[in-house]
């Protein structure tokens, strides 16, 4: 994974428009959040290999970054992205890692299931 290059990510988003894709979307506050700090509320969710298709999408912000993808009947939205995988050819793999390197959020799109 490398730090996000917004121009490259935008090109990859554009290349994935208007086709069926498998999505992995995840966010987690960490399973030990409340153990370390009882004022924190532990929460997590993910959805993996749901099929989506978007017609229009973008990346914005000055880091951490936001991505929004417009679908026929709704939106996919992620805030807090910092890294992506630049060596992927067909897939777009993005994640947000905190200052300790822990994953907070991820958004992945692929023509094949994860």
């Amino acid at each position: 994974m490398q730090l996000i290059d917004t121009a490259d990510v935008q090109r990859r988003i554009d290349a994935l428009r208007d086709r069926d894709l498998y999505v992995h979307l995840e966010m987690t506050s960490g399973a030990y959040t409340a153990y370390y700090d009882s004022t924190k509320h532990p929460a997590a969710n993910f959805i993996t290999n749901a099929v989506v298709r978007f017609s229009h999408g973008g990346i914005s912000g000055s880091g951490p970054y936001r991505v929004g993808l417009k679908m026929e009947n709704g939106w996919i939205y992620t805030e807090g992205l910092t890294h992506y995988e630049g060596t992927e050819t067909d897939r777009l793999i993005m994640a947000g890692h905190d200052t300790q390197g822990k994953l907070i959020v991820s958004l992945q799109l692929s023509p094949e299931p994860f």
Binding site: G58, V67, K70, W75, Y77
Partner: protein, 219 residues
């Protein structure tokens, strides 16, 4: 007198703290206000405490709150543009600018109020302001209405200077507090519930001034 005023903001409640007193003054002056609210704030995290709304009911709850706020201020024409909360910066520009352009064409407002692009903290605020100045900027120079922007990003005055329009709205604190109260799922401001709250020196101090920067298209 009887001017047309266009307000373009992304979320129900964006009008309350920074603009509602100014709008109430416009109403008193006989002006006609159209408020185009881009979304229903349906992704908001506040749902009352304890929560009385859910992710499913929040849009309907916030629509009613917005209507109540508009009644409190005296806004005559509320338009709900049906965009989705958090997505304004990703929305297709032609679609967004097109809707704002239609309103400019229809109303030919004397003044437009929105957020200052880049200095309004929330991405929807910035993207809303950007769309407004982009669309107004396409009009011929002589037919551009002044765009009065709200800004509150940290250190914004270092970048854009002092506001050039400052309104004392202490006289309009009653409708302003009623506007804030209307958004009960979003705000819980202690001490504003009483009928006499608008007379409070402390609240007059806190809410009695509204500041705007007239957007400079030549910058």
């Amino acid at each position: 007198m009887n001017k047309k005023i266009l307000v373009v903001l992304p979320h129900p409640d964006d009008e309350s703290f920074g603009l509602s007193g100014t709008l109430a003054k416009h109403v008193q002056d006989g002006d006609r206000i159209t408020y185009a609210c881009l979304t229903l704030g349906e992704m908001g995290r506040n749902m009352g405490n304890p929560p009385f709304a859910s992710r499913v009911t929040l849009p309907a709850v916030r629509k009613l709150e917005l209507e109540e706020s508009c009644r409190a201020i005296g806004i005559q024409d509320l338009r709900l543009l049906g965009f989705r909360d958090k997505t304004i910066e990703f929305e297709e520009e032609e679609l967004l600018d097109g809707r704002i352009g239609e309103l400019l064409e229809e109303l030919r407002p004397s003044v437009v109020y929105t957020f200052y692009p880049g200095y309004a903290v929330h991405p929807d605020h910035d993207a809303c302001g950007e769309a407004v100045v982009r669309t107004v900027g396409r009009l011929p120079r002589e037919s551009r209405p002044p765009v009065r922007c709200m800004a509150f990003a940290r250190d914004h005055e270092d970048a854009i200077g002092k506001p050039d329009v400052v309104h004392d709205v202490r006289e309009f604190l009653k409708p302003k507090l009623a506007s804030i109260r209307a958004h009960r799922s979003q705000f819980n401001v202690p001490g504003i519930d009483s009928d006499k709250a608008y007379k409070s020196r402390e609240l007059q101090e806190r809410f009695g001034t509204e500041r705007f920067w007239t957007y400079r298209f030549d910058r």
